[in-house]
């Protein structure tokens, strides 16, 4: 065995001056950033009325609430809750489907390999961006003003806010598609529409189907909350029961939501595997 080499500190220092004598700016950068982050945190805590007494009073209140939640009990309103849950799932399914149907043609306009001109693509993309910038709950409020309270407003709210997300995701899928097949169609004399139908769609449809399924899954979550502003579904029941402090019903509703979300996760995971194969999902 060879002996470990003798290390001459002075020699190393001379050879690698950058490592041993880092400039003050790079040595201080990390602590300075941490200090700044903490300063903002402290300022935020003060500005947002955090006080230990309030925090602990709230915590003990929360403890009481949790105790009151046990055991979860729907009382006599189980049928109503089941109906509301069905409504929520309907909202998620319909909203996502509507969004996907409308987003597909628009996403073609936003894809670089379909519409090469920046002049048309840029406004389409900014339009999609600003739709995405507005939260689903805000869209729900707007639609309630238009079609009135109820689950229909929820469907439209989810459809609009997903339209923005789908437009972006679909156009990215289209841009990632292989151009060779499109060229093949063009070489055999196909028109621009033929290129999209036979060259592009077979490639992107499985990806799009996977994304739509994933969104149905995540929209089950969104659909549970838009009820809070009055757009139907189980969120409406949840918000009402919280306001009248029926904690056992609240915990039952939360459990119902968790189970429903887990079930939808499971089903759509299976479906996604079936559609696009295990490899593409991972």
């Amino acid at each position: 065995m060879t002996k470990p080499q003798e290390v001459d500190a002075a020699q190393m220092r001379a050879r690698y001056p950058d490592v041993f004598n880092r400039p003050a700016s790079s040595r201080l950068a990390t602590p300075a950033m941490i200090a700044a982050a903490f300063a903002i945190l402290i300022y935020g805590l003060v500005d947002l009325d955090f006080s230990p007494s309030r925090f602990f009073a709230g915590l003990s209140q929360l403890g009481w609430i949790t105790l009151m939640m046990i055991p979860p009990d729907p009382g006599s309103s189980l049928p109503i809750y089941l109906k509301a849950l069905g409504e929520t799932l309907s909202i998620a399914l319909l909203g996502t489907t509507l969004a996907a149907v409308f987003a597909l043609p628009v996403s073609l306009l936003a894809a670089r390999n379909i519409v090469p001109s920046n002049i048309l693509r840029f406004p389409v993309r900014r339009f999609l961006d600003s739709i995405r910038g507005v939260d689903t709950l805000i869209w729900a409020l707007v639609w309630i003003n238009v079609v009135g309270l109820g689950p229909f407003a929820g469907v439209l709210a989810i459809a609009v806010s997903d339209f923005g997300a789908f437009g972006k995701l679909f156009s990215e899928a289209i841009e990632g598609a292989d151009q060779k097949q499109v060229e093949g169609i063009r070489a055999s004399g196909g028109s621009a529409l033929h290129e999209i139908r036979f060259g592009l769609l077979p490639q992107v449809l499985p990806v799009i189907a996977g994304q739509v399924l994933y969104f149905i899954e995540s929209n089950t979550r969104s659909a549970t909350i838009i009820g809070i502003v009055g757009a139907g579904g189980i969120g409406l029941q949840l918000a009402e029961q919280i306001r009248v402090l029926e904690w056992q019903k609240v915990s039952f509703l939360i459990l119902m939501i968790l189970v429903a979300v887990a079930a939808i996760d499971f089903i759509s995971g299976k479906l996604r595997f079936a559609i696009i194969g295990r490899r593409a999902v991972a």
Binding site: G44, L48, L94, V134, L141, V146, P151, V229, L238, L258
Partner: protein
């Protein structure tokens, strides 16, 4: 033009064609069946959600005219003709926007700190005991699955109205989401440094501190920044249930039909979200290089 394609003998061709047709027809049948099930589910959902196309068509004009109205000032002019009148409350709105950003900042930081403490127990390769991993994972799952605004509703009752409830709701929800992502990073970390440290007789805590943490901090920070972006959106609606931020102003404006205020506040939120998106994107690219972004 002469073709150079060799034509197979009739018999062989027929057999191949039959096999092809059978394969295709089976696929078509499955596709048709899937489409039928999907259509049935849609119809069922449409009945469940009380979809009424007549309402939609009658009121769709309202949807468009709603945007027309929120872009019109009380004086009947378009909003952009008089910016001062449109953004008459900009001092108040900017202050509320600042509060929103603070809520999401503090919430993200608290959530990230909690997730940091918990994720080592949730990761497959570093968890000290299987039962602990199970408990922590279920806890994170619960925090992630219950929507932030539901936490906010409960916290508003426990902690009183105000931004504190919003901060805590965002913190809990972020803990769940970040805890999962963080533990996935830890699971992908190289375990050789851990073995090296353990062979020197170090405790579990030192193994984490000196072998795992140096590998994962960049990934953690990147995910935390991404979460901050999401939380800004989330915090903008916390006000709907009385948990502070600009959502409070917005919901009042929408419910009381202060049309031009609605568009002004919406525009403020959208621009703020854009700026935050771009800024955090730049920061992530700058701090962790290109590879951390993916």
């Amino acid at each position: 033009m002469t073709t150079a394609v060799s034509i197979l003998p009739e018999q062989q061709l027929a057999a191949l064609n039959a096999a092809y047709r059978q394969a295709v027809s089976r696929r078509r049948l499955r596709l048709l069946l899937g489409a039928a099930i999907f259509a049935a589910a849609l119809v069922l959902a449409a009945i469940g959600a009380e979809v009424n196309l007549r309402t939609l068509f009658t009121y769709f004009g309202n949807f468009l005219s709603y945007f027309d109205r929120i872009l019109t000032l009380d004086s009947g002019q378009r909003v952009w003709t008089d910016i001062g009148e449109w953004f008459w409350g900009w001092r108040k709105w900017l202050k509320m926007l600042g509060e929103t950003l603070l809520i999401s900042y503090v919430g993200t930081l608290i959530g990230a700190a909690l997730a940091f403490c918990l994720n080592f127990f949730a990761a497959e390769n570093t968890s000290p005991a299987p039962w602990l991993r199970f408990v922590v994972r279920r806890l994170l799952e619960f925090a992630r699955t219950v929507p932030g605004i539901v936490f906010a509703l409960v916290f508003v009752i426990a902690f009183g109205l105000g931004p504190m409830a919003g901060v805590l709701a965002i913190a809990i929800h972020s803990t769940g989401a970040l805890g999962k992502l963080f533990s996935e990073i830890v699971e992908n970390a190289d375990m050789k440094p851990v073995e090296g440290i353990r062979s020197t007789g170090a405790s579990w805590l030192s193994c984490m501190r000196f072998a795992v943490v140096p590998q994962v901090t960049a990934g953690y920070a990147s995910y935390a920044l991404l979460r901050f972006e999401i939380n800004v959106r989330e915090a903008s609606v916390m006000g709907f249930v009385g948990a502070g931020g600009i959502g409070q102003e917005l919901v009042v404006a929408i419910r009381k039909f202060y049309y031009s205020d609605v568009s002004a506040i919406l525009l403020t939120i959208i621009i703020a979200v854009f700026i935050i998106d771009i800024a955090t994107g730049w920061l992530r690219g700058h701090l962790f290089g290109k590879e951390a972004r993916t």
